[in-house]
């Protein structure tokens, strides 16, 4: 089943929707503007009636897997249920209808919400202040590194390197490079954790920060975190926490207590704002006291019960986003935290750890576990044995799971594990769902042993089978080199052949 593009469904006979008329005597654009300032031809937007639009998007919706319908064991992405009350809260007219340039007196409730959310996040991760401006995790990483750099500059230090473990998320090195740093990789030891010896050899007066996630991307808690922090701080460098894995330990421990100086959080992971098929998210950053002067402006301040936006921050790294961040996502996250409370958040993390260990146990007979448990909220398995023996790769297992109504785990990440299959069940899933998933894995692995070709041919039950991305890349390349007019990256009306 495939669905035509809106452009292909377009019919010239469709009238535009009924819209307000001007009802005033003002001139039309063509009466005032010179011809060259005007658009010569209307833009090529599709022309569909409302029922056609609704059916088109309903059919597209039915072609998606989503957390509302499917188990999404996507490692590192924390795909947990998005409570519907969050949506109700964000759509309250008292929030959705606010203009960002309204006077402070008229937005006290919005500022109060931001202030309370900041306090709650401070309590959860153990920091002094939080900026709510960054729009996503990567944006938060970059914001944090800018603050660290500004702080070190203010002390007359020109530190040029950022250390990143080999198991880190790809955004870490990218954010570091965009902040003007050289990236130096730190190796993992045999137990999957950062090698203290390698870290020590790479630390120097040039080191600005170590970027770390804990538990790391293998789902393992860095047991020596306090030694790591001491080592990093002893050279005058700072410790940055990648908050992708925060769902592992809310109420159990805090990055601030571990020694992290800057901490980003993904509200769209840990705090249940929906992922939206790729955003919008929100990536607040928490900092310890010494970094507070460098926070992006504005911050939300409260004096005598009155809330205000503070733009007068002379040492601030400036503005990282227009207005005050993804406010609608802040409302959702605040609603979640309020509903869960301290007790609920702690329980959520414990359940997430329990689920991951349970599922790990259920599939350890079928998939290789390169590292010893227990794990935290996720684990990384490997399909390298199947790959060697049966030619069945992690990707084949992922696609076969899709055919069995499960979204696929993250595959080929982290890079340090060959044929990696990264599974994060989250606290959302019931014991029965975890068991059904384990049964599916068992069936797939059995099939790999007996009929590997059957797996290469999956998925079969979805709107399309495996797409030939190599052929697509070749077409794109030809287009980008100017050798064809077939754009591949957008729809273009087919050239009518004369009949």
């Amino acid at each position: 089943m495939t669905e035509p593009l809106s452009f292909e469904l377009s019919r010239p006979a469709v009238d535009p929707p009924r819209l307000p008329e001007a009802d005033v005597s003002g001139p039309a654009p063509s009466e005032l503007l010179p011809k060259e300032a005007l658009r010569a031809r209307p833009p090529g937007l599709p022309r569909l009636s409302e029922p056609e639009i609704m059916r088109h998007y309903s059919r597209l919706a039915s072609m998606n897997y989503s957390i509302s319908e499917n188990f999404y064991p996507l490692g590192s992405c924390t795909m947990k249920y998005n409570p519907v009350v969050n949506e109700t809260a964000a759509s309250l007219p008292g929030f959705a209808g606010l203009h960002p340039y309204q006077d402070e007196d008229t937005v006290q409730g919005a500022l109060e919400l931001m202030w309370r959310l900041e306090r709650a996040l401070c309590a959860i991760v153990g920091v002094e202040r939080v900026t709510l401006q960054p729009a996503a995790g990567a944006h938060g990483e970059w914001t944090a590194l800018r603050m660290i750099r500004a702080y070190q500059h203010s002390k007359g230090e020109a530190r040029t390197e950022v250390l990143v473990p080999d198991s880190a998320h790809g955004t870490n090195p990218a954010s570091a490079a965009l902040s003007g740093f050289q990236v130096v990789e730190v190796k993992s030891g045999g137990d999957g954790r950062i090698s203290l010896a390698d870290l020590e050899s790479k630390l120097s007066q040039r080191t600005s920060a170590l970027m770390l996630t804990n538990p790391n991307t293998l789902g393992l808690f860095e047991r020596e975190i306090l030694d790591i922090a001491e080592l990093v701080h002893s050279t005058g460098a700072m410790l940055y926490y990648d908050g992708a894995n925060l769902n592992a330990f809310m109420g159990i421990c805090r990055p601030g207590d571990m020694g992290f100086d800057a901490v980003h959080m993904n509200l769209h992971k840990t705090f249940t704002t929906p992922h939206g098929g790729g955003g919008p998210g929100a990536g607040p950053v928490g900092v310890k006291a010494e970094l507070v002067p460098f926070l992006p402006m504005p911050t939300v301040e409260r004096t005598n019960g009155h809330l205000m936006l503070d733009f007068k921050r002379p040492q601030s790294i400036g503005r990282v986003r227009s207005f005050y961040g993804n406010f609608g996502m802040l409302v959702r996250a605040y609603t979640y935290i309020l509903a869960m409370g301290g007790d609920g958040l702690s329980q959520a993390s414990q359940d997430a750890v329990l689920s991951a260990n349970y599922l790990r146990k259920l599939v350890e007979g079928d998939l290789e576990m390169p590292h010893e448990g227990p794990c935290m909220h996720e684990f990384v398995a490997s399909a390298s044995h199947l790959s060697h023996e049966n030619g069945v790769r992690a990707l084949d297992i992922a696609k076969a799971l899709l055919d069995r109504d499960f979204y696929a785990p993250t595959v080929y990440f982290p890079l340090v594990v060959p044929e990696a299959i990264m599974v994060e069940p989250t606290e959302t899933e019931s014991k029965a769902t975890l068991e059904a998933f384990a049964t599916a894995v068992k069936e797939i692995v059995a099939l790999a042993r007996t009929n590997p070709q059957a797996l290469h041919d999956e998925p079969k039950n979805l709107p399309v089978g495996r797409l030939d991305e190599v052929a697509a890349a070749r077409r794109i390349n030809t287009y980008l080199q100017g050798l064809s007019e077939d754009p591949v990256l957008r729809w273009k009306a087919p050239v009518q052949s004369p009949c």
């Binding site: 039309a28 833009p43 998007y57 919706a61 039915s62 929030f95 209808g97 919008p280 609608g328 957008r490």
Partner: protein, 416 residues
């Protein structure tokens, strides 16, 4: 479950965490029922004042517009809003095709070759475009021409600092200039000489980056037509609520030659073994998860759902609906400008310049005017003095299809 795992208690699973780090509990109140949660959240919402759409004449980058009911009906489908980034193409065709349609819509609007899947907002879109120019030209200065949104310029500066990119305001492009950035219409609502600025950029070997208002493109010449290399902008007007400034959606489109430097996700057409057409994330080799520190951008999560809203909006409007909306705003703004300019002491701040649906007035006692309007329930002009010291006493007003003729009467009456 613990028994299956082979441990006695939850604590046995947490053995790797040093004892000294373990918390007793979080310093937060206990959880609430849904009823109590909503009571608290609603109380906060109730402490804000929401101005009626029709009496909102303030813009400055965020505008009140008519939002068709179809937009929320589509974006509130859980199959869209609770899906992840479409890594597994076969199970994400809905999202992927919607993004492909968005890319096509933006390419059509801007008359450029290729659009990406979306960015965070207009401000970061400007900054990302500047990064592209920096990488493409190897030059490290960008020139901001005229009244570009001040917050966009602030974000551009913050982004630029990390890469060693200098942001210069005004003046002529030269051999160091990577790009000339202008806004059409500009922050005050005025039209700039986009073809002239584009030509000047090209003469200096720089790229031309046009920051555009997507609805104005129904009537104004699009960036691709006057030769701009990159078009960026804020898509809030395409079906998104003001929501105190976000989430909205940034868009970016460019010429074919620049596509490999385009940040963020891009969806392309592909086929399966039986020849069925599908869509997938493509050109991943540009992105952070492959290139890591060599990537030109770190963007990962973008604003897919907001892009979906924009797609539904544009599809609902179609070419002629969009033009109708743009023209109504144009006519009403011009009618309003004429009436405001007739008020004693009021005058057009730049009488020789053209505008679309937002315009600057020089008025006596601007802060008092704004307060007076607020008292009458009108969100009046935007005082731009806070950003531009030379614009003391200048308020910008905006009109769209939601400001009916009677609302214009009420505004003028309130000022008399």
């Amino acid at each position: 479950m613990l028994e299956t795992i082979g441990v006695k208690s939850m604590n046995d699973l947490l053995v790797d965490i040093p004892q000294s780090l373990r918390l007793e509990s979080l310093q937060l109140p206990d959880g609430l029922s849904e009823f109590e949660t909503m009571a608290q959240v609603s109380a906060l919402a109730g402490r804000n004042h929401v101005y009626p759409d029709r009496l909102t004449f303030r813009g400055g980058g965020v505008y009140r517009r008519f939002i068709p009911a179809a937009v929320a009906a589509v974006t509130s489908k859980p199959e869209f809003y609770t899906a992840y980034t479409p890594y597994q193409a076969e199970a994400s065709q809905g999202t992927l095709q919607a993004i492909y349609e968005f890319q096509t819509l933006i390419a059509e609007l801007t008359a450029l070759d290729v659009s990406n899947a979306s960015l965070y907002d207009g401000a970061t879109a400007v900054a990302e475009a500047a990064m592209m120019a920096f990488v493409h030209t190897g030059r490290n200065e960008v020139l901001v021409s005229g009244y570009v949104h001040p917050e966009y310029v602030q974000v551009l500066r913050a982004f630029g600092e990390g890469r060693g990119i200098k942001v210069r305001k005004g003046g002529e492009p030269n051999q160091k200039t990577a790009a000339v950035i202008f806004q059409q219409p500009d922050f005050l609502g005025l039209l700039v000489d986009a073809p002239g600025l584009t030509a000047a950029a090209h003469d200096a070997g720089a790229l031309a980056i046009a920051c555009v208002d997507p609805i104005s493109l129904a009537i104004l010449a699009p960036p691709g037509e006057y030769g701009a290399d990159i078009a960026v902008g804020e898509g809030q007007q395409l079906g998104l609520e003001p929501s105190y400034g976000g989430p909205h959606v940034g868009f970016i489109a460019c010429r074919r030659e620049l596509v490999r430097k385009l940040p963020g996700r891009i969806v392309g057409e592909a086929h399966d073994a039986s020849g069925r057409r599908g869509f997938a994330l493509v050109l991943a080799a540009r992105e952070q998860h492959i290139r890591r520190e060599k990537a030109t951008s770190n963007i990962c999560t973008n604003h897919s759902l907001c892009a979906l809203a924009a797609s539904v909006y544009l599809t609902y409007m179609g070419p002629y609906g969009l033009r109708q909306v743009a023209e109504v705003g144009f006519r009403r703004a011009h009618a309003l400008a004429e009436r405001l300019a007739a008020l004693p002491g009021w005058e057009m701040a730049f009488p020789e310049r053209q505008f679309v649906n937002e315009f600057p007035m020089r008025v006596p006692k601007a802060p008092t005017v704004v307060k007076k309007l607020a008292r009458k329930g009108i969100l009046g002009g935007l005082d731009v003095y806070r950003w531009f010291r030379e614009l003391k006493g200048v308020l910008t007003f905006t009109c769209t299809e939601v400001n009916d003729a009677r609302a214009l009467d009420e505004l003028v009456a309130a000022l008399k």
